[in-house]
């Protein structure tokens, strides 16, 4: 509309200069005039009246409404990459295993499994009472097909690498092996799935909880090709069925009466796509939504909303850090990096972000093996100043102009502006801020990282391996360009080690290298998801990997239905 104003502003200016037909005014015979008038106005009126569709929504509590915030990019679990898509898929489907409350893999479609050859081979025994929504049985072949499809170069899945621990998986994906049968996943019979790995892998069972490993029906996928995830085509095996999908608007699920663990208590789920957080909060307060999470709550409204019943913070396996570009001045000097790290007062973050974020000077988040709060550099301005002086920049004098970059997002901006202020006050260094939109930001990080940059990581599977592997020498996600062979060696040892206490020691040493002695990154805080559940309902599970599980949601019998 604004450019329109520009246009019109100019049209106003040309009252006297009628050169284009659009702007000319001229007399007409009166009959023609009237015809136009009587034709156009009723048309508009009819359009205005007929335009709105009717829809009714009864409020008997049988329909649970959540906000997804964006359209899920894909409901094909071989292609999905984001938590919005996975949150829909996780309610439509079940896989071999799922996380229990302690984030340990628990049996679902697999009733048990054997770990053979010192962790190199896994054999899953499937239940025989799990049904697809069209009545067919879920068989081991469906897993075999899905895993091979994920790895197939033609599928071009972004998550293909998650199975690279499987024998020949990487080679098949690269096209070095053409025969999919050589990939180490095999249905021995209808109810037995055998997985052969390249080497013992301590965390592999966790990967089988991940949606991309869920089974698929070859006949359905091949018949409908790209359209197989549309409601009329899709075949699923989980607690809910995909009833309808109005793109960019809403997804409706309905309870699956044939779900092998029992039909869910709520009959329908409506998932809306409201991008704007402020709008989503308004909808909740007006009773149009029953559940909100961080995607739907603006940080600055959290203080107020935390007082309403049903508010619950859920710590996440998601860390935030600032990284340094280590291959260039001035951050090639570890003293400078230490100084900048020690000039950050992490206790501020929960107060400015209002979501109960957990300040953390170490990288592995709580809830994971080897989490250790004692590791890392604490806030210490005098020591920070001393280190900076030692590095040749007393009170920040002579320090080159550097940029702190973050991708465009409200909370990143708040954090960056706060840290900018702390560095100015504690070190006398004024860094420039640069906010860049996400895709450009990623490209820059990969090709030419900013001197200081913000990044974060959310766990794919709840094992420190997933977090620590980011910073190995050959990791594509290591934007700091830090290379440390000792660190790499520690991580390899820890991945193949099957004993927890040994792994913990290895990760402790690695974390000390990463955040204390070498300071390639400065961990800032661990995210906490603020969730609000309408108190009419109970039983909603929101786990620390941003997964929303709705199958146990039911009306709270004590609160009564209004």
């Amino acid at each position: 509309m604004i450019p329109f104003c520009l246009k019109m502003a100019c049209a106003w200016g040309t009252n006297s200069g009628k050169i284009t037909p659009t702007q000319a005014l001229f007399p007409l015979t009166s009959r023609r005039r009237k015809q136009f008038l009587w034709f156009v106005l009723p048309c508009l009126a009819v359009l205005a009246l007929s335009s709105c569709k009717r829809s009714s929504s009864r409020d008997d509590g049988a329909t649970f409404r959540v906000n997804l915030s964006t359209e899920p990019p894909s409901l094909d679990w071989s292609l999905a990459t984001d938590h919005v898509s996975f949150n829909v898929i996780a309610n439509l489907m079940v896989g071999l295993t799922e996380f229990d409350r302690q984030l340990k893999p628990a049996p679902v479609v697999a009733k048990s499994w054997d770990i053979l050859e010192g962790g190199r081979k896994l054999v899953f025994h499937l239940r025989d009472d799990v049904q697809w929504s069209d009545g067919q049985k879920v068989r081991a072949e469906d897993f075999e097909y899905s895993w091979r499809r994920l790895l197939d170069p033609k599928t071009a899945s972004q998550y293909a690498y998650i199975l690279f621990d499987v024998l020949n998986a990487e080679e098949f994906h690269e096209g070095k092996i053409a025969d999919e049968k050589q990939v180490g996943v095999k249905a021995l019979d209808e109810a037995t799935l055998e997985v052969t790995l390249k080497h013992p892998t301590s965390y592999f069972l966790s990967i089988t909880t991940f949606e991309v490993t869920y089974p698929q029906r070859r006949d359905v996928v091949e018949k409908f090709a790209a359209k197989w995830t549309e409601p009329e085509n899709i075949v699923t095996n989980g607690p809910f069925l995909l009833a309808s999908w109005k793109h960019e608007n809403e997804i409706r699920l309905k309870a699956n009466p044939k779900f092998f663990l029992g039909k869910p208590a709520i009959e329908n789920v409506e998932m809306f796509m409201v991008n704007e957080k402020t709008t989503a909060v308004g909808m909740y307060e007006q009773g149009q939504l029953d559940f909100l999470d961080n995607d739907s709550i603006p940080p600055l409204e959290k203080a107020r909303l935390s007082k309403i019943p049903g508010f619950k913070p859920v710590p996440q396996l998601r860390g935030e850090y600032y990284g340094f570009a280590l291959d260039r001045k001035p951050f090639d000097d570890p003293r400078v990096r230490k100084a900048f790290a020690m000039a950050i007062d992490r206790s501020v973050f929960p107060r400015i972000l209002h979501g109960g974020e957990l300040p953390s000077s170490s990288w592995i988040p709580p809830g994971m093996l080897a989490h250790n709060l004692k590791i890392g550099l604490p806030y210490n301005p005098p020591e920070a100043r001393r280190l900076l002086r030692e590095a040749g920049y007393p009170e920040g004098k002579g320090f080159p102009q550097v940029t702190l970059a973050y991708n465009t997002q409200e909370d990143h901006k708040i954090v960056a502006e706060a840290v900018q202020g702390m560095w100015k006050r504690n070190l006398g260094v004024l860094v420039r801020l640069d906010n860049i939109e996400w895709k450009v930001y990623l490209k820059r990080l990969q090709n030419d990282p900013y001197p200081v940059f913000r990044d974060g990581w959310g766990a794919d599977y709840p094992d420190p391996d997933n977090f620590m592997k980011l910073f190995t020498s050959n990791s594509g996600n290591n934007h700091t360009r830090w290379k440390n062979s000792r660190y790499d060696q520690l991580l390899n040892q820890a991945a193949e080690e099957m004993k927890d206490d040994k792994r913990r020691r290895l990760y402790d040493e690695a974390q000390r290298l990463l955040c204390e002695t070498e300071v390639a990154i400065v961990p800032l805080f661990v995210r906490v998801e603020s969730t609000i559940l309408n108190s009419r309902y109970i039983g909603l599970e929101y786990n620390s990997m941003q997964r929303l599980i709705l199958r146990n949601v039911r009306l709270n019998s004590t609160s009564g239905v209004k």
Partner: protein, 280 residues
């Protein structure tokens, strides 16, 4: 002409008030470093989100920064965006339209086809695409907005030149062999001034509004420590997300935008009425 204009303007209190307000805001923006009660950046962790008080007349924002200070510094950015955009667009557009209209013939035809193509582009999309290109600083935003706005000036100038060319005394001047430059400067320019001035006045608030829309998508100007730091649009956008809990951090920036745009529009309306009495 200037004197006449002033005499007319003096008679309308609304125009006078608008003019005074616009001047006041511009002056406040220019003098922000002198009159602002606090430094533009800074982070006061003990004074987050305070309501208006004696220390902070308009309260503090999510990082404890003084809202009044931010609005004063924002004034210079927003006003600069408005006036700068209009000025750049005027320069490009007027020159273009002048050439097109004065030379005429095939050149005019070609130039106007190009303008038509620009005119056929959806402006907001062009804003967004261009601002990705030029970045999020004041120069980038200025350029982005100007590149969309100049077309209007080109059209108006051309139409005015075409009309002026037909005037008797211009033809007379040409007949006695006056140079092109002289004809343009002495005879044509004064004639096209009025409508261009009106368009200019309306372009300023439109540019301010456009910048605030860019801010809404996160493409606005933001650099809290710089004296050319954060636009009103960005301030309003920040505050917008906290509207329910802390209304003061949206209310004041939004009010500043609203009043300024209102004043410019009143001024534009008034100027148009005076300069183009036919429409009255």
């Amino acid at each position: 002409m200037t004197k006449q204009l002033w005499n007319e303007m003096r008679r309308s209190p609304l125009i006078l008030a608008s003019l005074a307000f616009v001047c006041l805001v511009t002056a406040a923006g220019a003098a922000a470093p002198l009159i602002a009660p606090y430094a533009p950046g800074g982070f006061e962790e003990m004074r987050l989100l305070e309501a208006p008080s004696r220390d902070h007349w308009l309260g503090t924002d999510e990082l404890g920064r003084d809202v009044l200070t931010r609005i004063l510094y924002g004034a210079r950015v927003s006003i600069a965006v408005g006036i700068g955009t209009a000025a750049i667009a005027l320069m490009i557009g007027a020159l273009y339209g002048l050439i097109s209209g004065y030379v005429g013939g095939q050149v005019d035809n070609l130039l106007m086809r190009i303008v038509d193509i620009f005119y056929g582009l959806p402006d907001l999309l062009v804003f967004i695409l261009l601002s990705l290109f030029f970045g999020r600083n004041i120069a980038g935003v200025l350029l982005t907005l100007a590149l969309v706005t100049w077309v209007r000036f080109a059209r108006i100038t051309r139409s005015q030149v075409l009309q002026a060319k037909e005037l008797v005394y211009v033809e007379g001047a040409r007949a006695i062999g006056a140079s092109h430059a002289r004809i343009l400067l002495r005879h044509i320019l004064p004639n096209i001034l009025a409508p261009v001035l009106v368009t200019l006045t309306f372009s300023i608030p439109a540019a301010i509004l456009a910048e605030s829309t860019l801010s809404f998508i996160g493409l606005g100007i933001n650099d809290p420590y710089s004296a050319w730091g954060t636009s009103w649009g960005t301030l309003a956008q920040d505050g917008w997300r906290a509207m329910r809990s802390y209304p003061h951090i949206i209310f004041f920036p939004a009010l500043a935008i609203f009043l300024t745009i209102l004043a410019f529009n009143f001024l534009g309306n008034g100027l148009r009425d005076i300069l183009d009495p036919k429409g009255r």
